[in-house]
């Protein structure tokens, strides 16, 4: 099982919409996908229409007897499962901190379901915390949405530096940054996008547009491809998944 995490230090950059839409594309292309919603806001859980409830809360989930499989829910798309979030995840750092090797806990929970899925996508809350470090300890690749703003390159640089500094046992995850919420009509977006590509040659080729159809995911409570399959944004998420999949299964 390949483990991806949509991650950014900044909030509101399209992490959750990416996690939901990429998971959808992955399932349609033959992957067995597990989305793990780690954000106490539970936005991914909301989009999949799953009840935001972790039986026993996040404390039991990451506790000694916790097991991911007990919390898994099938979504309405065959092949796509979800571990929902609830508000108890706001204490995730605290629960992890009480454990011996906190940064390895998420990896060991995922390891127990590794034969059941081809890909796990972890949807993370913003910030760098103990939970984030546990995500870095579990993930093979971090999918990092980068909004073309002047501060984006600096934020991405901070993350790269942090990972380079080591994340505990094992190799740090790879970075897969991509442009997100791009408005091609704005000259500044075009210019910043171009300069980011020069500065970060590893930036994925696909850019996710800023589109009202993505905002419609809220009222529709579904991935874009389910209600607007031919929209440019739906195509962009499909293309982005193809790029990511090529890295995973080259």
């Amino acid at each position: 099982m390949k483990i991806l995490a949509t991650y950014s230090i900044k909030g509101g950059v399209g992490k959750t919409t990416s996690a939901v839409n990429l998971a959808h594309s992955a399932a349609l292309q033959g992957a067995r996908v597990l989305v793990w919603d780690l954000d106490p806001q539970g936005a991914a859980t909301f989009f999949f229409r799953v009840k935001p409830k972790l039986k026993g809360g996040s404390g039991r989930l990451v506790g000694a007897k916790g097991a991911l499989a007990a919390h898994v829910r099938a979504t309405d798309l065959p092949g796509l499962h979800l571990v929902p979030a609830d508000f108890s995840l706001r204490h995730l750092d605290l629960h992890l901190d009480g454990r011996k090797r906190p940064t390895e806990r998420l990896a060991s929970l995922l390891d127990a379901v590794a034969d059941n899925y081809d890909v796990a996508i972890l949807d993370c809350p913003p910030s760098i915390s103990l939970a984030s470090e546990s995500v870095f300890g579990a993930a093979h690749e971090l999918l990092v949405p980068v909004v073309p703003t002047t501060l984006s390159s600096r934020t991405l640089g901070q993350l790269a530096d942090f990972l380079e500094g080591g994340t505990g046992e094992g190799d740090p995850p790879g970075l897969l940054p991509y442009l997100s919420m791009v408005d091609r009509r704005k000259r500044l977006h075009r210019e910043l996008g171009d300069s980011l590509r020069v500065e970060w040659p590893g930036l994925l080729a696909t850019a996710i547009p800023s589109a009202s159809v993505i905002e419609r995911m809220g009222p529709e409570r579904a991935a874009v491809a389910t209600f607007a399959p031919s929209a440019p944004a739906a195509r962009a998420f499909r293309d982005l998944w193809v790029e990511v999949a090529a890295r995973l299964w080259a």
Binding site: G30, V72, R73, G79, L80, H81, D115, D118
Partner: protein, 510 residues
């Protein structure tokens, strides 16, 4: 899943609607289970299903709670036809070179009913199949109504309540799904073709009877693989047919004093002809199967330069298979097989009471196995660094002969000792196989490079690359030859002898 007879479709649909299910539209669908001839996917706990309605979708279930779904443009035949991604990654090591074949195919008119919670999330899905029929058969509908309850992970209670609802309208639960039910009803064994050279034997029974049973089992294997070989479905059909022929020849060779002289001699000649005829196509199959391992170490540029050779090998393989298909359809082949089945089925004249034919198979088999091993050990000990390669090829034949005896008369031998002994023998065989295969391929490569040169469609890069490939064959051959002494020494040990003695002693007891 539930099956009629009691209610009609309308009654079931009405009950579902009343129970809060949304009914989807009716649509016709063809569902086909795909597996290899020998049921590899079933054996690995996997289920691959093609759904056509009219687009094509593959569903791979088993190995966890989530099934994988992927759209395909055409029905996949081999692993490389599958879309690049996790489905192919999971199936490739299981399928290896085997082709996917339809095992059971049904047509159905179905309606999907879904019960949702207040957020609109599906809790359970029920598929009502009306008019299920086995596809491509003239028989009419197999069953009037089949209902499948699809339990969604994390929503077990909803599935239980759907099951109860269906039971209230008179449906009864089965412990299989639609395809499993249809396969059982149609008498299709989802385990696929199961083959073993080992048949049940009693060590006290007369040897003639035991030999005939072993040979009849092998004749069945030849028949089972005939069609797949003729149609060139995948290389395993020819491989298995060829192995069955070789085992037959080996058992016939060991049948001196057991089988009637005339019969033995005539069928040894017949199967000798058949074995020889299957060789060229199999050699080219091996070439194609092993191509990546041969060329991989040489790098991408050499692989590109060798493309004309790949085309030539592919064409030659096609030609050899066409020739073999024609041969397997000839009167000579059919007469040989018919005569063989005739002899195996007919009563034989009372054998000479002094011959091995009436002696207990346990003693006779143990003696022949011992002789085969003695011959192998004696020849192996004579081989030194400068012994001609032909002697190693002869040793490989000795090893095969011994292996076939151990397999065909395996029922007489204790399983533990047999497994342990065969492991030792196999290590030696692998070394001898590598030595001979690389030599054969080098010879073929020379012949093919001449063909290509004569045809005039080969550039200098290709000729250089062929030289590099020939060098790679030679390197591997030389390495195998250098390692032979070590492999033989590992076989020719006190421990092997002890295992062997325990093996044969047990066959003669009682």
């Amino acid at each position: 899943m539930s099956v009629q007879p009691s209610p009609g479709t309308d009654k079931v649909l009405a009950a579902l609607e009343k129970g809060g299910f949304e009914l989807g539209p009716e649509r016709s669908l063809r569902r086909t289970m795909l597996d290899t001839f020998d049921g590899r996917l079933h054996g690995a706990g996997l289920r691959l299903e093609l759904r056509e309605a009219p687009g094509r979708e593959l569903t791979l279930s088993g190995g966890g709670p989530a099934a994988a779904h992927v759209a395909v443009a055409a029905v996949p035949r081999v692993a490389s036809d599958l879309p690049v991604g996790p489905v192919r990654l999971r199936l490739s090591p299981v399928l290896d070179v085997r082709a996917l074949l339809p095992t059971v195919s049904v047509t159905t008119r179905q309606r999907v009913a879904v019960r949702r919670d207040k957020l609109g999330k599906a809790l359970v899905s029920v598929t009502v199949h009306d008019g299920v029929a086995i596809a491509d058969r003239t028989s009419s509908e197999l069953v009037g109504l089949v209902v499948e309850v699809d339990e969604l992970t994390g929503y077990a209670k909803a599935a239980e309540s759907a099951q109860s609802l269906l039971e209230t309208v008179g449906l009864r639960a089965l412990d299989t799904d639609l395809m499993g039910f249809v396969a059982a009803a149609a008498g299709i064994d989802l385990r696929g073709h199961r083959a073993s050279p080992t048949v049940v034997l009693d060590r006290r029974e007369p040897s003639l009877e035991a030999f005939r049973r072993v040979l009849a089992n092998l004749a069945g294997e030849i028949d089972a693989n005939w069609e797949g070989t003729v149609d060139d479905v995948d290389p395993e059909f020819l491989h298995d047919l060829r192995v069955a022929v070789r085992r037959t020849r080996s058992v016939l060779a060991q049948g001196k004093g057991v089988l009637p002289v005339e019969t033995r001699s005539s069928f040894r000649a017949g199967f000798g002809w058949l074995g020889g005829a299957t060789g060229p196509a199999r050699d080219l199959d091996v070439y194609v199967i092993e191509w990546d391992t041969y060329v991989g170490p040489l790098g991408a540029d050499v692989a590109t330069a060798l493309e004309p050779l790949v085309r030539h090998v592919t064409q030659r393989r096609r030609d050899e298979h066409a020739a073999l298909s024609a041969l397997l359809r000839t009167a000579r082949y059919h007469e040989l097989i018919a005569a063989w089945h005739g002899w195996l089925a007919s009563p034989v004249a009372e054998p000479d009471s002094r011959a091995d034919a009436v002696r207990p198979i346990g003693k006779v088999a143990a003696r022949r196995i011992t002789k085969a091993n003695d011959q192998l050990v004696a020849r192996g000990r004579r081989i030194g660094p400068h012994t001609p390669a032909e002697e190693l090829h002869e040793l490989r034949k000795d090893a095969k002969k011994l292996r076939y005896l151990l397999e065909c008369f395996g029922a007489l031998l204790p399983a533990g000792e047999r497994k342990s002994f065969v492991q030792r023998l196999k290590a030696l065989q692998d070394n001898l196989g590598e030595h001979q295969d690389t030599e054969v391929h080098a010879v073929q490569l020379r012949a093919m490079s001449h063909d290509l040169h004569d045809a005039g469609d080969v550039g200098p890069d290709t000729l250089v690359a062929i030289g590099q490939l020939a060098g790679e064959f030679e390197r591997r051959r030389a390495a195998a030859r250098a390692e032979f002494a070590e492999h033989f020494a590992a076989y020719d040990t006190v421990a092997t002898r002890r295992t062997f003695e325990a093996l044969t002693e047990s066959a003669t007891r009682g």
